[in-house]
Amino acid sequence: MKRTTAALAGIGAATLVLAGCTAEPDTSAGTAEEISIVVAQYSTGTEGYWKEIIADFNKQYPDVKVDLQVLDWGNLNPTVNTLIQTKQYPDILNITNYQDYASAGLLYRADEVLSKDVIDDLLPAFKANGEMDGELYGIPFIASANVMYYNVDLLEQAGVEVPTTFDELLAACDAVKKLPGDVATYALSLGATGGTGTAAAWVFAGGGELYEDGQWTIDSDTNVDTFQYLQDLAAAGCTQPNPGQTNTGDGTWPLFAQGKAAMVYAPLGNVPGFMDPVRDAGLKVEATTHPTNNGAKPSILGIQDNLMAFKKPGNQKLVQELLGRFYAADQYAAIAKTEGLFPLTQSALAVSLADPDLGLTQDDVDLLNSARFYPNQPGWAAANARLKSDIGLAVVPGADVKQVLTAIQDAAVAG
């Protein structure tokens, strides 16, 4: 449908009609006077580097007003939803899911707003994760590589090796439980913020998949076994109580930092929320992969957040300028350092490797490149929302695991 048709319709009808199709806005004409950037709050440092980028941008474009909104994750979704519904598209948005916006035809392709040099510089595994129908829409922003950390001293005191299989973890639990001070063997976080990551890491560790050969496999028998195992683990007192209601930042990580948990799911690197308390407490910790089952290949979970640029009249050039500044190797590496996460270009990663403060090794980079990801499928947004809210129910004592997983599977299939 073309704009002329919409113009003929009444105002009320126009709202309904226009929503179903997408009028192609003329993005080259003129120059926008205002640019809005909506990003998630990773840490108290987030606002700082965006302001630096904007200040630098304003030196060249003093007349363009850049409106920056840094929102905590709880408020990000409602706010962005409101913006989209009222057609106040941000120019640059930082959020996980890009597929819905791309399918609605709202986004620029990456090559329209990013130089070829930067695109070629992106780590291939992460770039692939931002592609839909062979085109890059979700520009890799920053990533965490999620692993299992363990408390070296606690495992030594218990006299056990780092468990590499599900059975070994159960065996280790028997030994750790005997330690004084009520130590949880594995601190499990399946609560509604961050539960998705933990759940996916265990799915892969259990030899299962979320999506395979064009099919959703969230409620496969393998996955049912995995979550039944976790439920039993909790029931046996090998985790902290109520893992289904526990999150990382205010749950399992403080537990680990207090020396009350032997193992925990956490991002590799220097995320301040995890690492600072661990360092302050003087704990000796090491990172490894999660114990596996069914002969699964040990893996780490890469979680990538994306930047996306919305098509709006006259904003293309300005967005290009802003993103260019963002991805300049030194700037980008500094941003990643602030958040304790990984930059996703070769050049910035090289800067990070050379930074003695970070203590990053080539091994870490190799690990990063071998990361596994959430399914890059249109149904994932719905599945993720349902998974986040409900996966914790699978480890409530006596819960029907299959039923919980099927509800998530249904959400994925419905899309």
Partner: protein, 616 residues
């Protein structure tokens, strides 16, 4: 003015217009539009990212009814409503009775009740979440030290106790306001009545049961209905404490609405349908409320519907009274035990009880203060520590460098002061007209502004944003001030209405005979007599705006121009991977202090101002 003066009936009919028009314009302009938009959304399809896809008939409602959790949530909501309101009422009556005595302990308790009332609910909820933590929670530390429990129950995480935990917090946060309303009622019971009963040889138990309680029956009812509405729309307590847990163990329709829209189903239209159903339920409550809270008989001709509702309310009323009497009779054998207790409660022992209760209500804020001085690691130490191992006073300095706290204060102050002034300016004439001018539709007018209190803010957000766009008012001071004014207007008009109605009409008439116009009467005669009510409304409005979060976040959040209010700004300490409780609490305490000082200053007048006139 116009050249042609309307005459007779027309003039009478138009007389109230200038008095009440500003209120009506604000209420309709700010609340009717988003409310209408919410209704519209409930009949269209909206996709996951918020785009409207077309007319959907009743699909959204059908989908809502088919949700597997629907029954569970309704049951939860009913339980929440009944338990929280009932326990709050019983506790508040007891506390009000205690407060109506004399002694230093009571003064402490009164102050202690002001603090949670003046604190933003989001801050109070955060500190309760912190207190209720399992291994590192202060509650468990205290209970273990007292030998009451052995172990560290996960109060708000364990699905079996989560709902109970939020109900307890819901009750604790509802008690202060309710106690003060009831205290106001108790203060108006004429001393002669009590004296006469005493001369007749009635025991203090009998005086309490037969004289005082019946005398404040209408206050009790008002307090109960106010509570009902407040509790029904309660979002913050449940959301902050259990929002991040899996499943719907502690959800009511309000928190579920939010989850449907933005967390689990990502379906704003289904959420809108739930919002509409919520409002319908509440409108039914309002009809009852109108019948009950209306202090004077309505002058409007009674319609069959209205009279039927009145009958129903009458029956319910009678039932309640009869049930009360029956409970009283059943409890009579107990009075030989209770009477001595009650006598003692009037003496020094009462002071001790009051002191103990005061400590209980202040405790969360003491925890907040001590936590604001701890290091991150100590915040999570297991078990919790009472005093900081190392007193980090620098947290209070650091918080100013981590966020532009001084700017947030300035912005919040500007918005709150301007809104308070506007509220008074608009509400005073409206309340005066509603009390003094006998115009048609007066009841409807009072009802209309009450309706504004019924809409859960969450249901209105998208509509409000849409409206702000139409007016090109995103991030504009005037818009947030107008919105805050409209949302706080109902309370102001109702309290002022009650206060003005308590001023004898004869005074007006005398002044008018002396040649004063209506406006002159209002300024020179009425306002000086309702000082308590004015101060109450001013402080209430100020605190309400000062603590508001959701509206400001949506339409007034522009860090680039330094337009961020305090409650929104301190959320910056809630990051993806960390919650900096120490800074959050330091900033919260600094925000609470001005509110508490304001409340403490007017505390004496507050009690009178709240209930004047509502129970002649």
């Amino acid at each position: 003015m116009t050249t042609r003066r309307p005459t007779g009936r027309l003039r009478d009919a138009l007389a109230p217009v200038p008095w009440i028009a500003p209120t009506i314009i604000l209420v309709l302009g700010v609340i009717a539009f988003p409310a209408g938009y919410a209704v519209y959304l409930s009949f269209v399809g909206v996709n996951r990212i918020g785009q409207i896809t077309g007319f959907a008939g009743f699909d959204n409602y059908v989908r809502l009814f088919r949700e597997p959790m629907f029954g569970h949530i309704i049951l939860n909501t009913g339980t929440w409503l009944v338990v929280v309101v009932a326990v709050t009422m019983v506790c508040s009556i007891a506390i009000a009775a205690l407060l109506s005595g004399r002694g230093w302990g009571r003064r402490v308790l009164r102050f202690a009740l002001i603090v949670p009332w003046a604190a933003a609910l989001v801050m109070t909820s955060l500190v309760w979440r912190f207190i209720l933590e399992g291994r590192s929670g202060m509650l468990n530390r205290v209970l273990n030290d007292l030998g009451l429990i052995d172990g560290y129950p996960d109060w708000f995480r364990d699905p079996t106790t989560a709902f109970g935990a939020v109900m307890v917090v819901g009750i604790i946060t509802s008690i202060p306001f309710t106690s003060f309303v009831l205290l106001g009622g108790l203060m108006t019971v004429p001393n002669e009545l009590v004296e006469a009963a005493r001369v007749d040889g009635a025991s203090s138990w009998a005086i309490w049961w037969r004289v005082k309680l019946p005398a404040i029956r209408s206050t009790i009812f008002v307090a109960m209905v106010l509570n009902l509405l407040h509790v029904f729309n309660a979002f913050t307590v449940i959301w902050v404490i259990t929002g991040a847990g899996a499943g719907n163990f502690a959800d009511t329709t309000i928190t579920w609405m939010y989850k449907i829209a933005f967390v689990t189903q990502l379906d704003t239209s289904e959420a809108a349908a739930l919002g509409v159903l919520n409002v319908i339920f509440l409108v039914a409550l309002i009809l009852v409320y109108l019948r009950v809270a209306q202090p004077t008989e309505s002058d409007a001709p009674s319609t069959p519907v209205a009279s039927r509702i009145r009958d129903v309310v009458g029956v319910v009323d009678d039932l309640l009274v009869r049930a009360g009497l029956r409970i009283g009779r059943t409890l009579r054998p107990l009075r030989q035990f209770i009477a001595p207790l009650a006598r003692r409660a009037a003496g020094p022992a009462g002071n001790v009880v009051a002191l103990f209760l005061g400590a209980f209500f202040l405790a969360p804020y003491l925890v907040m203060f001590l936590a604001s001085l701890k290091t991150t690691n100590e915040l999570w130490s297991m078990p919790a520590t009472y005093l900081p191992g190392e007193w980090r006073w620098s947290n209070y300095v650091d918080v100013f460098t981590k966020i532009p706290l001084a700017d947030y204060f300035r912005v919040s102050l500007t918005v709150a002061l301007a809104s308070t002034a506007l509220i008074l300016l608009v509400a005073i004439p409206a309340a005066y007209a509603a009390s003094r001018l006998r115009f048609r539709g007066r009841t409807a007018f009072l009802g209309l502004i009450l309706v504004t209190q019924m809409f859960p803010g969450i249901a209105l957000i998208i509509g409000l944003y849409q409206e702000a766009l139409l007016l090109d008012a995103i991030g504009e001071y005037w818009f947030i001030i107008v919105i805050d004014t409209s949302f706080n207007l109902a309370f102001a008009v109702w309290i002022l209405f009650a206060n003005i109605s308590a001023v004898p009409v004869e005074l007006d008439e005398a002044a008018r005979l002396d040649g004063l116009g209506r406006f002159g009467v209002l300024i020179r005669v009425v306002l000086p007599l309702i000082g308590g009510g004015l101060v109450t409304v001013a402080i209430f409005s100020f605190i309400g705006v000062w603590n508001e979060f959701m509206l400001a976040l949506t339409v007034f959040n522009d860090p680039a121009q330094n337009r961020v209010v305090l409650t929104v700004g301190i959320q910056k300490f809630v990051g993806v991977f960390e919650t900096n409780y120490q800074y959050l609490f330091a900033a919260s305490l600094m925000a609470i202090i001005p509110a508490v000082i304001l409340f403490a200053l007017i505390e004496r007048r507050l009690v009178g101002g709240l209930t004047a006139g509502s129970l002649k």
